[in-house]
Symmetry: C2
Subunit: 255 residues, 2 copies
């Protein structure tokens, strides 16, 4: 048990960190709104009274954190952190922690069911139209595993969007990024994998249209169980997610 401290811990953060913190505070507190210009590097140098190299290191931190971006002419402006970028970081973390497909599947099942439940309640005409559109595309590319897998991923993104819950959209994304890339593999290895996938989507959409929650949940569950069975024919659920990830992450980044 330490003696009660005589002095408060003295703050010795490096200058670039303080610069980053100062700008972050302004943005998070709302005094600087997303889209507002931050000023040129030289202005920041003058305001903070530090060297440009120091300012630039601070800027890099915020840029990576998604609070700052550079507009078309490379000037700094505040921005809303994009889900997608953050989710990518999380996916990377999951990979490095060598999580298994079993863990991924368990969580995805939970979250996709939750998405469906919310979507059944709250999907607007527009949401439904987008899902229908996606379904039509899926039927067209049913013979092309890569394209179909992409449609599947999009379908679930749209489903989450139809939940009208942004926390849910965000929470499912990291797992989904790792989970759905395997779809292509499964569809191309398992006979009738493609048709079962599209059929599940069709019933799911129909359930949303009829606001039939039970049916929606049932088809979501069936859809993911299909994935699981398909996956288990190819590999063990207890395999770490490592391998699948790499090429997909590269592909995403390239967009």
């Amino acid at each position: 048990m330490p003696a009660s401290p005589l002095f408060r811990r003295i703050d010795v953060a490096p200058a670039y960190q303080k610069v980053a913190d100062a700008i972050e505070r302004e943005i998070v507190s709302g005094r600087i709104k997303p889209g507002d210009p931050i000023g040129t590097e030289l202005e920041l140098v003058r305001q903070f009274g530090v060297n440009r190299s120091t300012v630039r290191e601070g800027i890099r931190v915020l840029e990576e954190g998604g609070l700052l971006r550079r507009d078309s002419s490379r000037r700094l402006q505040a921005c809303l952190p994009r889900y997608n970028k953050l989710a990518t970081r999380l996916s990377r973390a999951l990979v490095l922690h060598e999580v298994t497909f079993r863990e991924l599947f368990e969580v995805s099942l939970t979250l996709e069911i939750a998405s469906t439940e919310c979507a059944v309640e709250r999907a607007t005409e527009e949401d439904i139209a987008e899902l229908a559109d996606n379904l039509a595309r899926s039927e067209q590319v049913i013979a092309d595993p890569a394209a179909l897998a992409e449609c599947d991923a999009d379908f679930h993104v749209l489903l989450a969007k139809a939940s009208h819950n942004r926390v849910l959209q965000l929470a499912r994304e990291p797992a989904a990024q790792l989970f759905f890339p395997t779809t292509e593999m499964i569809v191309s290895h398992v006979a009738q994998g493609a048709s079962r996938l599209v059929e599940a989507h069709r019933h799911l959409l129909e359930a949303i249209r009829r606001r039939d929650k039970a049916a929606g949940v049932q088809w979501t569950r069936r859809h993911l169980q299909d994935w699981r069975r398909g996956f288990e024919r190819i590999a063990s659920l207890d395999r770490s997610v490592e391998h699948m990830y790499m090429e997909h992450a590269q592909a995403v980044r390239r967009k």
Copy 2:
């Protein structure tokens, strides 16, 4: 429809980004293992053939992304991105997107129930001991809202840990960081809030001990419904999480 391109898109990323990417590739691919030293800045300068300022900007990017850290003597080493840090960033994003407590509650309910279900199945003796320990502490500080709220947050972290699903632990964290800070407020404003909280934890732990999933889920649901009712006495669920966040985020960072 664009004509089929004659040339591949030429890569014009700034040098600091290339430095960051190069190091990231080595880590994500596993060629550099977490804990391995990266080398001094000067060595990186020599290897990449760029200026130290440029290297440092690249380092800042990776540090913020959680792939690099500096050890006790400030030397660079690879590391596993910590859940907690990433979750903090996500929480910040949720705040900036002005999500509501309703959205937060909906997702947390889903994920906490999932945690409980997994924990009932898989909790080890050690997990149970930690939860029991936490419960004992809660009973001691039942009259101190701040301490009790912290215990509550810890309890749910331990519960997630007992699920033995790292994806779940990660997925619940961002919402939890925003969700549980309100506990203190509720406990101190609602009569019997504290005792109901501890009672719920007690029953929940008991359910885990008896491997009684139904009871576990029931008490989890009841526990969160208590939170919800308590919150609604104070504020609307449709309020954005903005306000709560600030001071808590500061407190966490200071640790």
